[in-house]
């Protein structure tokens, strides 16, 4: 499988290099759907210029990146394009290895379950074969690298690509079973933007499954493992934060980075839900709604973890999707990361109900974003309501996509336990309805 992967990498790098050289690069770098105030390259350059002048890059409201990023680019600013292409390649390769490993584990578990005769007789068509799972890792890498969202994000030099690389390395180290590396990468990802904190839950569940620790709040081993992971995670987070302090010599970056993410002072339009709401809000209620919106991102962790405690990798997918939809300043790069996982669940196709509607709406909204932006900002004939309507529709479609996959996953699990062709008590055929 190395040859197709290499070919894919070469094609992806060629496309990105061609776009870097064309005149579209500046156009793309200005689009608000692709860059946010947190991830824009323009702001990184501004911060570097301030740093060269000896002024703190966080003075003024322009720069919101973490000190590690600014020092990384201090050395790499001339090779910025190569850095971002490399980040994309790392993400793709990490996802490839992750999915290959995960497929092996899935197949092994399935084999044990078959031998133990745990599946009802009529759901044999739901069993997956190695043949159909053979090309999935390549498809995952392809979905990530050739996704127009990823290409746009890379050409715009949005630091979202670097965040995605760290997240994919975290997922890789989790799947490989390396607790320390997983904690370190997760703390790096949390350090960049706070929201990956919710990925602690699937990581913990995965390790516990792998180390045969029962997921039971009454057992001491459960709490002991959580303490160990928390120690490693918080320890590395502490180390990184102190390192940042020593790099720049002040705590300025804390309000600029984390204060910005949490309190959303900048209402630049983007594809998220925050900007319009907070533009319309009265000051009196701002703190309340801020808390509500931010809690919304973290809120789904506990219920999803309880429901999906046997399936931590699907939980990772759901959490990534929830972060990408509900975070304060999302961009298309965040969406590209969770969409890369969709081929892993391709066996759920037969249970998906709304995939046609969802893909039509996502396609139409992606096309309408630049049109309505043009009508609002340049032609002056529309206003922010038009753009927010498309944003709302886009996010509703994403939520529908994620919930559809969730339904399909749970339904397949249900069939694997109770059989595929369900019969009511009197023997006639029954249909499953989700109420």
């Amino acid at each position: 499988m190395a040859a197709p992967l290499t070919l894919l990498l070469i094609v992806a790098v060629t496309i990105r290099a061609a776009l870097y050289r064309s005149s579209l690069a500046e156009l793309i770098a200005e689009r608000v759907e692709v860059v946010s105030p947190l991830t824009a390259w323009k702001r990184v350059v501004e911060g570097l210029a301030l740093l060269d002048l000896g002024v703190s890059p966080y003075s003024g409201d322009v720069f919101h990146e973490t000190p590690l990023i600014i020092y990384l680019f201090h050395f790499l600013v001339d090779y910025a394009e190569i850095t971002f292409m490399l980040a994309d390649v790392i993400t793709a390769v990490a996802l490839y290895i992750t999915v290959k490993d995960y497929n092996k584990q899935v197949f092994r578990k399935q084999k044990f379950a078959l031998e133990a005769d745990r599946y009802p007789a009529d759901c044999l068509e739901l069993i997956r074969s190695p043949k159909e799972m053979y090309y999935i890792p390549l498809k995952v890498a392809m979905f990530y690298l050739l996704n127009p969202f990823t290409i746009l994000s890379c050409v715009a030099k949005s630091t979202c690509g670097l965040n995605n690389a760290v997240l994919s390395l975290f997922i890789l180290s989790t799947i490989k079973g390396n607790v320390l590396l997983s904690a370190i990468f997760l703390s790096l990802a949390t350090y960049q933007s706070i929201y990956p904190l919710t990925l602690c839950a699937p990581a913990l569940l995965y390790f516990m499954q792998r180390l045969y620790i029962p997921v039971n709040v009454r057992r001491a081993s459960f709490w002991w493992f959580i303490v160990q992971f928390a120690f490693m995670y918080l320890g590395s987070l502490f180390v990184i934060i102190c390192l940042s302090f020593f790099l720049l010599g002040s705590w300025d970056y804390l309000p600029s980075v984390y204060g910005f993410i949490l309190s959303v002072p900048d209402l630049t339009p983007n594809i998220g839900l925050f900007w319009y709401f907070f533009a319309e809000m009265f000051e009196h209620f701002r703190l309340f709604f801020l808390c509500v919106f931010q809690i919304n991102v973290f809120f789904y962790t506990i219920p999803l973890s309880i429901k999906l405690k046997e399936h931590p990798v699907f939980l990772v997918f759901m959490q990534l999707a929830v972060i990408a939809i509900f975070k304060s300043t999302p961009t298309v790069g965040d969406i590209a990361l969770y969409m890369a996982f969709l081929p892993v669940w391709s066996h759920l196709h037969r249970f998906l109900r709304n995939i046609f509607l969802v893909s039509c709406v996502l396609l139409a909204c992606s096309a309408l974003f630049p049109v309505l932006w043009h009508l609002w900002i340049y032609a002056g004939s529309a206003n922010s309501n038009f753009y927010y309507a498309i944003t709302l529709l886009f996010n509703v479609a994403q939520i529908l996509l994620v919930s559809d996959y969730f339904y399909a996953f749970l339904r397949r699990e249900h069939h694997l336990t109770y059989g595929l062709y369900l019969k009511k008590k009197d023997g006639s055929e029954a249909t499953l309805i989700l109420k």
């Binding site: 196709h349 043009h374 004939s381």
Partner: protein, 615 residues
């Protein structure tokens, strides 16, 4: 979420839609066309009204006295123009300075990508002259523009004369709160583009201009004047701008209100207003007026010098004086009073015009149709595409054997399906790119080898590439997947139908008329093309409804609407010049019609051609 999650109701709805798909499509199409035609029927329209409070009542006393002096100035301008054989820059500068304005000039040059045969120019060099009347007691933050083009020959002399007369009159008034810029631009739209780019410090079209030495504030509104006779019988209002953008309706309302007050006959699209809306001829008159507006908007050209202001969010319109055979003539003094009144009202504006509609159609100057009323016509046509897409999806997903909801893995076919769809897509888009790039690139080569001029070379190359697209191979998918499956063309048609729906939707949002006309011709094609319909007849229908032929018919239709019908020969020459003007508009002003048709609509049409001949 009942419909999305309850399988029984979903099944019922989906089976209803698939059984009745063709009848519903036909009904929707008829309904869409009927809705559109009904828009011109007067009881379905609204009377125009002034929305901006700052321009509320027209209680202004206009006192402009100097119409005769303006005509004399115009005659002097004409003689100077003949003497210099171009724009009399020095005379204009002296004349404006004598009237107390701050005068500046701007030089510009542009080499057109190929010679413009309509206006007989290729390497354009010119000068714009403009004078700024500073507001006596206000900070210089806002401005209004009055412009008159300097045209060759006997055109527009009176406009320049009136402009200078108004400048002198305005200079003596103390109530101006905004700077007024009096602009005389050379080479009409090219000069205007240079001036606007210089004023706003942008350079989107690659023109070479000298920077502006003097500037007013941000421009709130602009009027362009075209007056070629000493007396007129009516004033025509031209609203359509670049890419079909229209100014705020309040500007048209302002014009209409003042015409009523002063008693000048005002028209739109050159058609006189009528009262008999309930008669057939009255209704057809309104339909003709509306269709003229739709045609003009769909072409994406600026139909007056005002058309380029709209892109900078400046509301602008062109006033054309028409002298035809009627009893009642209006003299220059009255026109001057009208303009004085309009500028005094625009002077009162506190913020840019934004209260009234930006998207509208006008079946007459006193009635309009807003976007909320005309969009459903387009929506009905777009629904046809969505119904077809749903039908195809259901056919693709359900096999012959009945099972529960959502079935066999599309996985097996998806591999070959994706690739067999990708090849026609790539090929048709490459052809579209060729249609966009080849005519300009290869004009020198064409001129060497064939006895044609450059313009003809460009246009004929475009038509040649367009026709060559019809001969593309239709069975490339065979080499990829090895066999022509029934699934193959369905997947391609699904992709093509969705692509067309998104494309037409985006087009209709920016330029409704273009989107609607394309929808009228392309939606029936898209809905009913399959490889199984009779080939020769469908091929003929497909070619007749293709974008190029639509343009040909539109040219003849447009001439009919203007009551200047042309013979077939003249019509064909006009068609060729329309194509060359469209290409030139794209390169000179950034019009989007040519790239849209070449790069997106034509490849989409080619996909349907491919489906028709799918083996």
């Amino acid at each position: 979420m009942g419909l999305l999650s309850d399988p029984n109701r979903r099944q019922a709805l989906i089976s209803l839609l698939t059984r009745l798909n063709a009848p519903i499509c036909v009904v929707c199409y008829m309904a869409g066309v009927a809705w559109f035609m009904g828009l011109a029927f007067e009881p379905f329209t609204l009377r125009t009204y002034m929305s901006e409070n700052a321009m509320g009542s027209t209680m202004v006393e206009e006192r402009f006295p100097a119409g005769e002096r303006a005509l004399a100035t115009g005659r002097e301008f004409a003689s100077q123009k003949n003497k210099v054989d171009g724009m009399p820059v020095d005379w204009l500068v002296k004349a404006m300075q004598a009237r107390g304005l701050e005068v500046f000039t701007q030089r510009f040059t542009r080499t057109l990508p190929f010679p413009d045969e309509n206006n007989e120019r290729y390497m354009v060099k010119g000068t714009n002259v403009y004078g700024i009347l500073r507001a006596p007691r206000a900070p210089r933050t806002e401005a209004l523009v009055l412009s008159a083009p300097c045209s060759p020959g006997d055109n527009n002399n009176q406009a320049v004369g009136l402009l200078l007369g108004l400048a002198q009159y305005f200079r003596n008034q103390i109530f101006w709160a905004k700077d007024i810029i009096f602009l005389v631009n050379e080479h009409d739209l090219i000069g205007m583009q240079a001036w606007l780019e210089g004023y706003h410090h942008t350079n989107t079209t690659g023109m070479d201009w000298s920077p502006l030495q003097g500037r007013g504030g941000s421009i709130q509104a602009a009027l362009s004047l075209e007056l070629s006779s000493d007396v007129i019988t009516s004033l025509d209002l031209v609203l359509e701008g670049l890419n079909g953008q229209l100014p705020n309706l309040d500007l048209a309302n302002l014009f209409y209100a003042f015409c009523q007050k002063i008693g000048v006959l005002c028209t739109i699209q050159g058609k006189l207003p009528r009262n008999d809306w309930d008669s057939v001829s009255g209704y057809s008159h309104a339909v003709q007026t509306m269709m003229l507006m739709v045609m003009k908007q769909a072409s994406g050209r600026p139909w007056g010098d005002h058309g380029l202001f709209l892109r900078y969010h400046i509301e602008a319109a062109t006033l054309k004086g028409i002298n035809s055979f009627r009893q009642h003539k209006t003299d220059t003094t009255t026109i001057g009073r009208l303009l004085e009144g309009m500028y005094r009202k625009l002077n009162n504006l506190l913020e840019r015009l934004h209260q009234s509609y930006f998207f509208y159609l006008m079946p007459s100057l006193s009635h309009f149709v807003s976007i909320g009323y005309y969009m459903p016509a387009f929506g009905l046509l777009a629904v046809i595409l969505l119904l077809r897409a749903l039908d195809l999806w259901v056919q693709l997903v359900t096999p012959a054997a009945p099972t529960e909801d959502g079935v066999v893995d599309v996985e097996q076919q998806s591999g070959s399906g994706v690739l067999s769809v990708l090849t026609p897509l790539v090929i048709s888009h490459l052809t579209g790119t060729a249609l966009y790039m080849l005519p300009i690139r290869f004009q020198e080569m064409a001129v060497e080898h064939f006895p044609v001029s450059e313009t003809e070379a460009v246009v004929l190359t475009a038509i040649a590439v367009y026709t060559a697209g019809l001969a593309l191979p239709h069975n490339t998918h065979r080499f990829v997947s090895g066999e022509a499956t029934e699934q193959g063309w369905r997947v391609l048609k699904l992709v093509a139908v969705l692509y067309l729906a998104v494309l037409l939707g985006c087009t209709a949002l920016i330029n409704f008329s273009l989107g609607f006309i394309l929808a009228l011709t392309l939606v029936p094609v898209a809905a009913f093309i399959t490889p199984h319909v009779p080939k020769v007849l469908s091929a003929f229908v497909l070619v007749v409804l293709s974008p190029a032929c639509t343009l040909l018919f539109s040219v003849f239709f447009f001439q009919e609407l203007q009551e200047m019908p042309v013979s077939f020969q003249d019509g064909w020459l006009l068609y060729l010049s329309v194509i060359s003007q469209g290409i030139l508009d794209h390169f000179l002003y950034g019009s989007l019609v040519y790239p849209l048709i070449a790069l997106m609509v034509y490849p989409c049409w080619l996909l349907f051609w491919n489906i028709l001949f799918w083996k």
